[in-house]
């Protein structure tokens, strides 16, 4: 049926209905329902713009990484507002696009006089991972936290690991999001040989670049990088939960079988679809926040992200239930806030998030890369999460977290050279339940069960 014909029929139906009903009250009721629909349309439109803003900011951050990887430093600088600032580690603050371009070019080994590119043998891979994006209620500004994992170096000369946390401010410039201020909290640049565990505290944490290319302003607050434990300030530390919120679950009433009722049902469907799209971003933010807290041994903050009866299971640890017990179980890895020289990086990547049709629960698979250091020994870890989440009246919480260990490996020998088995359940603080799945980590391999069917065939995993 064409829209115009539909409209004519609706109008006719309404007129007839009103006449037969013989009441002015009906007309005012219809007007009220129409007004409600208009309000809902506005809310759905604003909500859509909000989720679009999150995806645009994710895109900005990822585009930045792809540009710097390949020496496109002018294009990377173009992602910043004209008067943007860039704080590089403890070096200081650089102001304006032109200075940011030169800063990135110098750090990445590019050239200000050539076009984009890098010289022979230069490696400048700066992977931009694990975003927590928070868009302000007015839609005009936003913040994000990112993790940068760097593979840097020069062929035959050096290979270096980079580890940094980025806290960004963004502005919405007439519909185009731009980076307004970047605080790049470099945690270490560690030689490949020996890795991060071999790093010693340095009296002055300044880059070589800053000597020839001094910043425009000093850093507002000094910090000591790894092996000290420094927590770059969170933009979401003030109890602002916006980044993990979505629409509360709604039971829409059965709509009347009239023209307005059809539109009300249509609005219900769009509102639910929007809620589910918003939930995907909220869950990305939630799981990333969990990772950033555990990075720094903030067990209390990490445990607070679980629902009251939430559960936590790590490898063969067994299952711990409830916030207080999860906090203590997390704390088996070290004191609250970690200790000097401890690295506890849990890099969260590769999400596969499915929000339930009613927007009340969700499941997600994630990958975790683990970079550890304790007592001067470096270690690699890798594994997969299969987690569940609950929409608690509009705030997403972790309902169950289950980390399946793929491998633990020694840094110097590599995972293939020297792997470690998983720890058995703690004797010091035993779990509430034994492990739900018993398996061995690398060199044994097993398929972690998928919470989803094949995304194309929709067939369940058949044991391949």
């Amino acid at each position: 049926m064409s829209l115009s014909l539909k409209a004519v029929r609706m109008a006719a139906g309404l007129s007839l209905g009103l006449i037969l009903c013989g009441s002015v009250f009906a007309a005012s009721n219809e007007a009220a329902r129409l007004a409600t629909l208009q309000t809902r349309l506005k809310a759905i439109t604003d909500g859509t713009t909000y989720v679009e803003s999150i995806t645009k900011i994710q895109r900005l951050g990822r585009a930045f990484g792809y540009y710097t990887d390949k020496g496109y430093f002018g294009e990377a600088a173009d992602l910043f507002a004209d008067n943007a600032t860039f704080q590089w580690g403890m070096d200081g603050i650089y102001k304006g696009k032109a200075r940011i371009r030169e800063l990135l070019t110098r750090h990445g080994g590019g050239s200000m006089k050539e076009g984009p590119g890098l010289p022979f043998g230069r490696l400048n891979l700066r992977m931009q991972l694990q975003p927590v994006v928070t868009v302000a209620a007015n839609g005009r500004s936003a913040h994000a936290r990112w993790r940068e994992w760097g593979l840097l170096g020069q062929y035959k000369k050096e290979a270096t690991w980079g580890d940094a946390i980025i806290e960004d401010d963004y502005i919405n410039d007439g519909g185009t999001w731009k980076i307004a201020a970047r605080r790049y909290y470099l945690n270490f640049e560690a030689p490949y040989q020996g890795g991060w565990a071999s790093l010693k505290a340095v009296p002055e944490f300044k880059s070589v670049v800053a000597k020839d290319f001094p910043p425009d302003a000093p850093v507002p607050q000094a910090y000591a990088p790894f092996p000290a434990v420094f927590v770059p300030p969170y933009h979401y530390a003030d109890g602002n939960l916006r980044s993990i919120q979505s629409r509360p679950p709604v039971d829409f009433p059965k709509r009347p079988d009239d023209a307005l009722g059809k539109l009300e049902a249509l609005a219900d469907a769009k509102e639910l679809a929007l809620g589910r799209a918003e939930s995907v971003r909220a869950i990305e933010n939630l799981q990333a926040m969990y990772g950033y807290y555990t990075d720094k041994g903030q067990w209390q903050q990490a445990a607070a992200l679980f629902s009251g009866n939430g559960s936590w299971e790590f490898g063969q640890s067994g299952v711990y239930i409830g916030n207080a017990r999860i906090e203590r179980a997390l704390g088996l890895a070290g004191p609250q806030g970690l200790e000097q020289g401890q690295l506890n990086n849990y890099v969260l990547v590769q999400p596969i998030i499915h929000v339930a049709a009613d927007n009340r629960t969700a499941k997600a698979r994630w990958r975790n890369d683990v970079l550890l250091s304790q007592a001067g020994k470096g270690r690699w870890g890798g594994g997969v999460y299969e987690n569940e989440y609950v929409n608690d009246n509009g705030t997403w919480k972790i309902a169950s977290l289950h980390y399946y260990v793929t491998f633990w490996g020694d840094y110097d020998a590599g995972w293939a050279g020297k792997s470690f088995p998983m720890d058995p359940p703690s004797k010091e603080f035993p779990p509430d339940k034994p492990p739900t799945v018993v398996y061995e980590s690398f060199p044994k391999l097993q398929v972690v069960p998928y919470h989803y069917n094949n995304p194309v065939t929709n067939k369940p995993w058949a044991g391949e």
Partner: protein
Amino acid sequence: MKKTNAMLALLASFAAPAAFAAGADLAALEKQLNAVGQRITRLQDLTDVEIVQNAYGYYVDKGQWRSISDLFADDSTLEIGGKGVFLGKQRVFEYMNIGMGGGGPIGPKNGSLIDHQQFQCLPTIMEDGVTAKARCIAFVMSSGGWGHNYYEDVFTKEDGVWKFRKLVGPFNMYSGYRQGWVDSVIVNTYPEKFAPYPDLPPSRIYLTYPSYHVEPFHYPNPVTGKPMPPPSPRAGGEAFGR
């Protein structure tokens, strides 16, 4: 009767203008709801495309070659590294099973780690709503060491389901573990390096680290809207920047 008619006429004179306005409003509303609904669909599309890409990575981890070829459309292509182009689902399966898995049984092999981690996915839904592109990274941690590759993939939406239309995975840097990328780098693959041999020759010839290659970005600069400029012809040489 007359009285009733008069009453109805009176009522109609109240109700009709309001109802008429409502009819026009309803049509506009329906249109607006569907327009915003399409934007919401695009948001879900972004997630769905990323799911196909990320699911691919988890299947590679465990040598689940059939699950991988099932992610591809019937008329799809696959081109990884310098091996050339493979046409259709069955050849995708053969590239994986024979090329990557050595033709052995499907599934994980104890002692052989081939984690193909999918990082930093940047998907774009094209104007037609049924084509998508995505740039992503595979960061490989394997028994042999490291791998860093890009993807510039094309997806197609068939009957509401997103699938791979083209998987293009140019290699960037491969190295062994002990030395890392300072020395023990492994050059790009080529058609005859291992079986199976490609249906079509490589669509691009390029060198991997320590040389320089940039796989074109499918998207313009998100802020300026400008397409990417080509790299300097001197990029990848020692004279670059001199």
